[in-house]
Subunit: 333 residues, 2 copies
DNA sequence: ATGAAAGCGCTAACAT
DNA sequence: ATGTTAGCGCTTTCAT
């Protein structure tokens, strides 16, 4: 393992001072063309790379952002992460990734460590369980999908998206629309549920919705079990279900299949998120896609942008309906 | 944004020298209990966190590893990443994540940057296209799924896994088994294909396999299109297909569904990878699961472990067959 | 056991 | 325009 070349080696070989080398490296204007060329040449020859730790120590920053995500196995988060990294890289930043594993209490520790490592800011995608970030002073923090006082907040318009999804079902002629909600402690789940309730109370003010909404985790098993309850229950059989996540929706598809209930002929299903998988299942899942790219770019730019952003105004992006094969008008029964 | 507390602040407040504080922080034995307690107290009070950049500059390392992954939207990679981060975190390390976006040429640049940032090593999951890492000297590099001279190599036993998968089909009574291979330039794809060929030539030495193998990308569309070719083609209709990835296999499922070919009654399908999605589709996909956790842990430990590992011996872990619903004996036609 | 001091490699302020 | 130099915050000899 050979010694790394330092700025001093370059200076010596090029016959200039280290100050000049530094100026060349940092594109400072006041260096004559001739010297600049010479230095650049030596740099190339020696393969000099400025030491990031030294730069970081000196400048107090190191062109790095941190990203905290609950679980990459959730395809939505994976895509978000992928996009954030892409955006950051494009702007010359690296990303330190940390998973909170859905443990709210570990989030604070992770942020602390990230700060210690001099990240320029962190994108926090909070776990479901509610959390109070104690003393997030001195951290540039952007929160996705949940508002935390004093920090910018970027998210999809979950409520409007849910509303549009349910409206779609209504426009198809459905009345008996069930809602598979997320976990009760999730902000996102609550917003989507509100969208559902908005539409239902507007169109069917007399209907008793209570039996139609079931809280369950955002995953496949949650959807499957919730659907089982809905489909086997003694309550009125729904003709459509609005699932609060695509994985849940896929669970519903499965539950329907197991009961020989044809989708969409006997049951319409609409999901939420727009994960790649939604297009792969059979039948293709109609879903409300989140604007992942916009969210990722916005969150990243908020961190990297020089100007302090107004933290009080949330950055909300609209979802888009992706029409596939899992929704149809109700059969005349 | 208040000034960060430095080791000097702590020293002053505790009435000791910075050397002593440093010794306390680093658990150096030669500090009296009394002083240690006092210092610790001040540290807690001031919330002192040693500056990572300074430590890194001084020690030449910073408890960070780099991970380069082609694309997190591939669920297998996402899971790998998740596990690597978990393992690293457990051992007190952070991870710098970078995506190569399947661009082989960007891998070198990413590694270079990672080195500049003083990572202790990098886990490289190479993109499909073959790459020569030029001059990877001075980097602790662990390569997943492909051998690069001079660096440890950890992978699933793709060939044996493929062999076992195809054997499973054979044991069910299948003869006409097609293989959806990966892209031609992929090492992993080649290994899996070899496993298939191994079994076919052993059991059916006279069969002309050529028409049964089709090269296609590792994704859903690849599988779907390849299956379309196989199912609509003029060649002899296969009764089973071995797909080299789960996403391809799901594409096959879809192609079969669209043609009203029942799986597994009329066509058996087996996948490879064991991604979470494989259990969610209908019918549940029988697949050869990769030992993701073992691979992730091994790769991480190789980087973090103090001892230089013998780079020449590959670390290979066995796959396991996950039986679900997509395979059955061929129908007697 | 503890303090003093020398840097780690770099940037920027200050000379010239 | 360029060289010189003082640190950034820490770890680690080297004295004591």
């Amino acid at each position: 393992m050979k010694q790394r070349t330092t700025i001093r080696d370059v200076a010596q070989k090029a016959g200039v001072s280290i100050g000049t080398v530094s100026r060349v490296v940092n594109g400072h204007p006041s260096v004559t063309e001739a010297r600049k060329r010479a230095v650049l040449e030596v740099i190339a020859e020696l393969g000099f790379q400025p030491d990031a730790a030294a730069q970081s120590l000196r400048r107090g920053t190191n062109h790095t952002i941190g990203v905290i995500i609950p679980d990459l196995r959730n395809p939505y988060f994976a895509e978000l992460m992928q996009r954030i990294e892409l955006r950051a890289k494009t702007r010359g930043y690296s990303v330190l990734f940390a998973s909170s594993d859905e443990q709210a209490d570990s989030e604070v520790a992770l942020i602390t460590d990230l700060v210690r490592r001099k990240v320029e800011g962190v994108v926090l995608v909070p776990s479901n369980r509610a959390v109070t970030i104690r003393n997030p002073e001195g951290v540039r923090l952007v929160v996705v999908d949940r508002q935390i006082a004093g920090h910018p907040f970027v998210a999809a318009d979950h409520r409007a998206g849910a509303r549009a999804a349910v409206e779609h079902l209504v426009s198809l002629g459905h009345r008996h629309i069930a809602c598979i909600a997320g976990p009760e402690n999730s902000y996102v789940a609550a917003e989507r549920l509100r969208g559902y309730v908005d539409v239902m109370t507007e169109h069917f003010p007399d209907m008793d919705i209570a039996d139609y909404v079931v809280y369950t985790p955002f995953n496949y098993d949650g959807g499957r079990e919730a659907a089982a309850g809905l489909l086997d229950g003694r309550g009125p059989m729904p003709t459509a279900v609005f699932a609060s996540s695509d994985t849940q929706a896929i669970g519903v598809l499965r539950a329907a299949f197991d009961r020989k209930i044809a989708v969409p002929q006997q049951l319409s299903v609409i999901g939420f998120d727009g994960i790649p998988m939604s297009g792969l299942v059979t039948p293709g899942l109609t879903t409300m896609a989140q604007p992942v790219a916009q969210i990722a770019d916005c969150a990243t730019d908020l961190l990297i942008g020089k100007d302090g952003v107004d933290a009080r105004e949330p950055f909300i992006f609209p979802c888009t309906l992706v029409l596939r094969e899992s929704c149809a008008p109700p059969s005349r029964a």
